[in-house]
């Protein structure tokens, strides 16, 4: 089946608009605590999840919204959960990091790397109970340094489990540059466990769709686990209100609270040498510069990339965008209704 860019774009837009609504509700204080969104990951989610079938399972990380929406979860139920309502998906008890949809065989976790073992288990059950079905897990590149995920790669290879491991590589583990805490290449790492591995640009949904389709076909034929490394950016940083991103966006305002402590510490007697102190300050500067670069990289936005290619038929594009907007407006209205 060839990919239909417009329908993939519609899925991505639906997720984007939903998460933008979540962002507004979070800013208004209707949602407490942390909020990790998949803003920027939509190309990866759409390219993979739209190819799943009944009986396939999903092991999700702390950014479960896009895959769940694309898998067909009722968006009203999901939004009600994020709002902590007792009529939400998990009765308001789970929240955005602990979303569970048994009917879809979809489970998420707030513990980095935990989706790997979960996918292996879903795939083991599939082997026994639903031959031909697969399990997909999503995780960030930061999780690739977590032991349980490495163990899951090996387990899936050893037991020849039908797992598609999808690594969403944003290059930043929270605010730490992943390259600075990671040895070797992630692709080679997966290959060394015996997995069939491929790399794609997550901003190119068609590229993701093609490659994921190949890997899923291998899985369904029982040819062992696969690994897809997909680059992406996080448009809102690690989480809403990301302090590094906030500081990069409004340095004067944010640095006001930070600068005093930094200057005092940098000048404090006893401690590192001048060279060490300057290098330390340089680390903080680099952290801020990195997030600014992400802000200025709209080419990394999968929606912008897809939309540019769809502009040839503005009428169809406009119709789909309007329908999607209307749907999300309805979803929000219904979810916030007392």
């Amino acid at each position: 089946m060839p990919a239909d860019l417009l329908s993939l774009y519609a899925q991505m837009l639906r997720s984007r608009l939903f998460e933008e609504a979540v962002t507004r509700l979070w800013a208004e204080g209707a949602i407490s605590g942390e909020m990790h969104l998949g803003l920027g990951e939509e190309g990866i989610a759409a390219g993979v999840v739209t190819q799943l079938r009944d009986g396939d399972a999903l092991a999700l990380d702390h950014r479960g919204t896009p895959p769940l929406l694309m898998r067909g979860l009722d968006p009203v139920l999901l939004l009600k959960e994020l709002l902590g309502r007792q009529d939400g998906l998990c009765g308001g008890r789970g929240g955005h990091m602990h979303l569970f949809a048994p009917a879809l065989l979809a489970a998420s976790s707030g513990i980095v790397g935990a989706s790997g073992p979960a996918a292996a288990g879903f795939a083991l059950a599939a082997k026994h109970l639903r031959p031909g079905s697969v399990a997909v897990c999503f995780f960030g590149e930061g999780a690739m340094n977590q032991g349980m995920l490495m163990e899951a790669l090996n387990l899936a290879a050893a037991w020849s489990l039908p797992v598609l491991f999808v690594c969403k590589d944003s290059r930043l583990a929270i605010s730490t540059l992943s390259a600075s805490v990671t040895g070797g290449s992630l692709l080679a790492r997966a290959q060394s466990f015996g997995l069939t591995a491929a790399e794609v640009d997550g901003a190119q949904v068609l590229e993701v769709w093609d490659k994921a389709g190949e890997l899923l076909a291998r899985l369904r034929q029982g040819q062992g686990p696969c690994f897809l490394l997909a680059r992406c950016i996080h448009l809102e940083g690690h989480l809403l209100g990301d302090q590094v991103l906030r500081t990069a966006r409004a340095p004067v305002k944010e640095m006001r609270s930070m600068a005093g402590g930094l200057v005092k510490a940098a000048l404090a007697p006893r401690g590192g040498t001048l060279r060490q102190r300057i290098a330390g300050a340089g680390k903080i500067g680099a952290m801020l510069r990195r997030s600014r670069q992400d802000l200025q990289a709209p080419t990394g936005d999968p929606l912008a990339v897809a939309r540019a290619r769809l502009e040839a038929d503005p009428e169809r594009l406009g119709r789909v965008e309007e329908e999607t907007r209307q749907e999300i407006l309805r979803v929000v209205r219904e979810a916030v209704r007392p």
Binding site: G84, Q86, R93, N145, M148, T176, K264, A266, G280
Partner: protein, 331 residues
Amino acid sequence: MKFADAIDDALAQAMADDPKIVILGEDVQALRRNLLVRFGEERVRNAPISEGAFVGAAVAAAMAGLRPVVEVMLIDFVTVALDAIVNHAAKVEAFSGWRVPLVVRSACGGGYGDAGQHEQSLWGWLAHIPGLTVLVPSNPADAGGLMTAALAAGGPVIYLEHKLLSEPWLEAMGSGGRSTVSFDVPAAGARGKVPARWQPLPIGQAALLREGRDIGLVSVGVGVHRCLAAARTLQDQGFSAAVLDLRTVSPLDRDALGRLTAATGRILVVDEDYRGFGLSGEIAAVLLEQGIACKYGRVCTEQTIPYSRALEDEVLPGTARILRESLRLLG
């Protein structure tokens, strides 16, 4: 001084005194940026998301002469590093006499809507293991004093920093720069007077924060402040409630518990950690072992902490529940 600043200030003092002290953990160059610009990146080292490896490495580094303060961002994530802590840090000295001068620093606690994988306390669970010291400060002076003590202890110490007291954690995980959300932060815990130069507080010594005749409220961390609030209300109703801040979960201050019980005859343990098989039950056992008869009650977390703020308020031990249970014991 603010709670988290006190911890980092005590750390800075100790790091200036002892070049063997290093900080390891995920994102610590962002979290401890003030220590980074003073002591450099060799002593404030970012780790990959590999708790099993870097906590395990910290244990052996401590054995080999370094003095690591290893950060496990949230105590919920300690589950991933338990082998290093439970089977190694806690046991090496018992097996061999080889000391493990390690501090595991971690944020704990709830009250800001982050649900059961990010808001646990787990201090009782860790204190269960022989060989581990578990510290839970409730105010800035204790926070710095106990960190200084942890660094001087010479053995593995779990140091827990409650997120409602620690402004940077609450800012990062709760408000995210918003003014549209609010949290029940105990002011006396979040900010307070601190000494000009840090001295180690005695580990295993509770602090009687309020004298009382009718009932003794016992807690740690944020629970201490909920108890103080309840004690003020009880006073308005004609009851005299004492408040004991344990400060140290392990070792427990058995003498202070005994004295408080003998003086009041009624003990209410307020524990944000889980009710079963934990601190509250341990305190009951300690009193029984001392042969002290009393009326006993406990207000604890009894289930997985729910995400919804309204549900969370019911599950975490709040002032209303403390009052209800106090009045039952006093009735």
